[in-house]
């Protein structure tokens, strides 16, 4: 009995179907060696999934730990100094935040972030000048009001709450420094020298406490011991606070985000004209010989290690900007030089993606444009660029994602501390720069400072991932169109 069957060869075009006489089906024979190789190769592919899962788990796990943790901050309140330091030179309204003042004695000076007492209102300095200070009005529950010229400005120092008398291990009544009782609320926990206590009642400046909660050891405490109150890190604080000061329990990511956005903005302002211009020249105007000679330049720029760009920003860009434009007003670490250098760094990326997008525009479109009498410029600007716009924007978004994640340049040239400012001449720290600086330092694993960088890392990861996905979606739309 003869029966024929058709076979399809793996990887062969579907035309290659032929018929053979029935026999052992070789393509279906189980080959253990082949199966093993397939499994090994598949495992290689799966490693990449493990990488992603690893990144997400590491970042998310520590981020959750960060938001569950609470920082202990020393309980403190501002106390006015005995003598005023300055007085108002003109009258102010209840909404004025810029106070014109004059010091009462030569050589006196306010401190940054200092609390001030004006009349009965407490304010806090946000920016200190020589004849004006910018303040936040109505702090600590006081009401903003209008004040006449000549009103005294008294600086305040922050005093710490301390145990007013020794606390033996069997005592449950803790007396704190006079006037500090209102800082504590019943039901809250406090920490005194590594012992955690729960406050059950507050009467004036005397707290009734439950000793040694949370498994901590009950100890004797001397008079003058500092008292810390919990300051849980909330998501709301994380995204809205403009201060990042781990040592005082302030975890607001805004300064890191504004610096990241400002530097990326400068970088794009530099890189879009440079990259797009180079792409237009290489794909529309340059003859093949010129093109082959010039294109490697951009590839070399793309291959230079980022730490070398950082060196360039610090030792060339900043001094040059100082000498030519800004003079001493430019901080030696500043966002402008970092942004410009990051811009140079991402230019090759933009130019190569834009060139791909421009050369993907069909020739027929250009020819049609020339046929109706358009010049080269008109063809480029009105036909080719609009047709390539999705590829160009995908390239720009990808470059932005690269700029946001760039570490070395910002670490070396932009600054070594978070700073909430929109002045490009100032130093500030980006998300990536902050992570890098903290991971080189000697901060112990598991501390709040340490887990905080994972929350920053998560923000960075999510934002670059979102940018990459958007870029991918846009460039996919381009592929579908032609």
């Amino acid at each position: 009995m003869q029966r024929s069957r058709s076979y399809e060869l793996p990887g062969a075009p579907s035309l290659a179907v032929f018929e053979v006489e029935d026999g052992p089906d070789l393509s279906r024979r189980f080959r253990p060696g082949e199966a093993l190789i397939r499994a090994v190769l598949m495992a290689c592919g799966i490693v990449s999934i493990f990488t992603t899962v690893g990144i997400v788990l590491v970042l998310a796990g520590n981020t959750v730990a960060f938001f569950q943790a609470r920082a202990w901050v020393l309980a403190r309140q501002p106390v006015a100094a005995s003598e005023p330091l300055a007085q108002l030179t003109t009258a102010i309204e209840d909404h004025t935040i810029s106070l014109p003042f004059v010091y009462l004695a030569d050589g006196s000076q306010f401190n940054n972030q200092q609390y001030l007492l004006v009349g009965s209102e407490i304010m806090r300095i946000t920016k200190r000048g020589t004849s004006t200070i910018e303040v936040t009005r109505g702090m600590k529950g006081t009401q903003p009001a209008a004040y006449p010229a000549g009103t005294a400005i008294t600086p305040m120092t922050e005093d710490l709450a301390k145990a007013a008398e020794a606390l033996p291990s069997d005592d449950t009544s803790l007396r704190v420094s006079t006037g500090f009782g209102h800082l504590f609320t019943p039901g809250e926990e406090i920490e005194v020298d590594a012992e955690i206590m729960r406050v059950s009642a507050v009467e004036g400046d005397t707290l009734t406490v439950e000793r040694g909660v949370q498994g901590t050891v009950v100890n004797n405490h001397t008079a003058g011991a500092n008292i810390a109150i919990p300051d849980p890190v909330t998501f709301g604080e994380f995204i809205s606070n403009t201060l990042w000061q781990p040592q005082s329990g302030e975890f607001g990511i805004l300064p890191l985000i504004t610096a990241t956005l400002l530097i990326s903005g400068v970088a794009l302002a530099v890189a879009i004209p440079l990259g797009l211009g180079a792409a237009v020249y290489l794909s529309e105007y340059a003859r093949p010989g010129v093109r082959n000679a010039l294109k490697p330049t951009l590839e070399v720029l793309a291959g230079i290690p980022t730490v070398v760009y950082g060196f360039f920003a610090l030792t060339f860009v900043t001094p040059t900007l100082r000498n030519l434009l800004f003079g001493a007003s430019l901080n030696s670490l500043n966002m402008l030089a970092a942004g410009i250098t990051v811009g140079v760094l991402i230019t090759p990326l933009i130019s190569s993606m834009c060139e791909d997008a421009i050369s993907a525009v069909p020739r027929s479109l250009r020819e049609a444009s020339y046929a109706v009498g358009a010049t080269r410029l008109e063809t480029t600007v009105k036909v080719v660029l609009p047709a390539a716009v999705s590829g160009i924007s995908a390239g720009i978004i990808l470059a932005m994602s690269r700029a946001v994640g760039e570490t070395m340049v910002v670490l070396l040239a932009a600054g070594a501390g978070p700073n909430f400012t929109f002045d490009l001449r100032q130093s500030a720290e980006t998300m990536a720069g902050h992570i890098a600086r903290i991971s080189t330092g000697d901060i112990s694993y598991g501390s709040l400072d340490y887990t905080s960088i994972f929350a920053v890392g998560m923000t960075l990861f999510v934002s670059t991932l979102a940018l990459n996905i958007v870029s991918d979606l846009i460039s996919r739309r381009l592929r579908e169109r032609y």
Partner: protein
């Protein structure tokens, strides 16, 4: 119609439009020119700070140490100079250069046991502490002369006796164009120093140890660390990357699982390198500390491998895709199995392309600093001895020196950048050579 074309208004309009085209062309050329100028500035800026005049002085003038210049002396003669000038330091010098072990145990071992090198029979069984001091120092000098090379001895003499100090350095640009001002500065601020031209990049810089003094530091540990890291990264990432590419290109059918792998690889290519650093720090350095040895070369290599895997996979897939399908079909037609086709036809003909991608990935890896924060050390003065040792790499040193407040370190950073760029240039030339060979073969 003819009238319209001939009319002056039309001609002037065409002229204006063509002029605009020319402006656009020049503008776009100018943007490209800016990129080229920046590249030139970047390279010049590095060279500018790797060479230049320095104000240099010695504690002891090297010319007075011996009757002939130091460069002509043999190792025993150099050791004799050390014996004459710093006899009390000989014990430490011998311990640091000829002994590998616990420094505290050195004086409790006989010379035969402790010294790594030739030891004369007569002193083999002696304990350093048994001998009178003069005799001991004579033996130490003899050991140094026997076992240490001239270059190292000269470096020791420089560090122990001559003690070169550099008060200030000037860039090449200043040295060439502003010599008069520099001489005035020398006379007023550094009257005891002499003005010499120094190349911060020299053989000594490449071969000598890292040090906290800018004048005597080298990049030996950084170069060795980079070499170790590179070797391990190749071993880990190349098989994994090519394997994944083969799977995706030749085995994977178009189903949801394989699409996830593909999308995932594309997305991983865009993750900032500092995030990989956090992953490496948490997983390889902390969680698997027992296996990797914590902050070791293995941890660094694993981290960098994950970082460059997407690059290797994507380029290897392109190389595999470029192999003509006729080759596959011919192989299958002769009855070869899939693996036979892959290993004997596809891989050999795609290999140049795969290697090009791998080299480009590796040159990304050796330039990376950010993922190694917390894994590599910024300062270390022992050579890496194996995959488990602590290490530093060139970019890490460049970063550390650039950030130092002492400006003299900038010159070291520049010299190290030149070494790093030379390394990158060599690797990229290899990649270009392979690419051209592949193109020629295919034609």
């Amino acid at each position: 119609m003819a009238n319209l074309i001939d009319s002056g208004a039309y001609r002037s309009q065409v002229k204006r439009r063509n002029a605009r085209t020319l402006i656009m062309q020049r503008l776009s050329l100018a943007t490209l020119a800016v990129s080229i100028i920046v590249l030139a500035l970047l390279l010049l800026n590095v060279v500018n700070q790797a060479f230049g005049l320095v104000a240099q002085r010695y504690t002891v003038d090297p010319d007075t140490l011996a009757e002939r210049p130091l460069a002509e002396l043999s190792p025993p003669e150099l050791a004799a100079v050390l014996l004459e000038h710093v006899p009390r330091r000989l014990l430490v010098i011998v311990r640091d250069n000829l002994y590998r072990g616990d420094p505290a145990a050195f004086t409790r071992l006989t010379l035969g046991e402790s010294i790594d090198g030739d030891v004369p029979e007569t002193v083999h069984g002696l304990l350093p502490t048994d001998l009178p001091e003069a005799e001991r120092n004579r033996i130490f000098a003899e050991l140094l002369g026997l076992n240490v090379s001239e270059d190292v001895l000269r470096a020791i003499i420089d560090a122990e006796i001559v003690k070169t100090e550099i008060d200030k350095g000037w860039s090449l640009h200043e040295s060439l164009l502003n010599r008069a001002a520099i001489e005035v500065d020398m006379l007023t601020n550094y009257p005891d120093s002499e003005l010499v031209f120094k190349s911060w990049l020299d053989v000594r810089f490449v071969t000598s140890q890292l040090s906290s003094r800018p004048v005597e530091t080298g990049i030996r540990q950084a170069i060795l660390g980079t070499a170790w890291l590179l070797a391990l990264t190749v071993l880990i990432s190349f098989p994994l990357g090519v394997g994944a590419a083969l799977y995706l290109e030749e085995y994977a059918s178009d189903n949801w699982f394989n699409r996830i792998i593909e999308t995932n690889i594309r997305n991983l290519a865009g993750v900032p390198s500092i995030i990989y650093g956090m992953l490496g720090l948490t997983v390889f350095v902390r969680t698997f500390e027992g296996v990797t040895g914590g902050r070791s070369i293995v941890s660094g290599a694993l981290t960098l491998s994950l970082l460059i895997l997407p690059i290797i996979i994507i380029s290897a897939r392109e190389a595999l895709r470029a192999v003509p399908s006729s080759l596959r079909e011919a192989s299958y037609g002769l009855g070869a199995t899939r693996w036979q086709t892959l290993s004997r036809q596809l891989l050999p003909s795609a290999l140049p392309g795969i290697l090009t991608g791998a080299i480009l990935g590796l040159s990304r890896a050796i330039g990376e600093t950010a993922p190694l924060f917390g894994i590599a050390a910024t300062f270390i003065n022992t050579d890496p001895t194996g995959p488990g040792s602590r290490f530093t790499v060139l970019p890490m040193q460049i970063y550390a020196w650039t950030g130092q407040p002492d400006e003299l370190f900038r010159f070291n950073a520049s010299a190290a950048i030149i070494v790093l760029m030379a390394l990158l240039l060599a690797m990229n030339s290899a990649a270009i050579y392979l690419r051209n060979r592949a193109v020629n073969q295919r034609v």
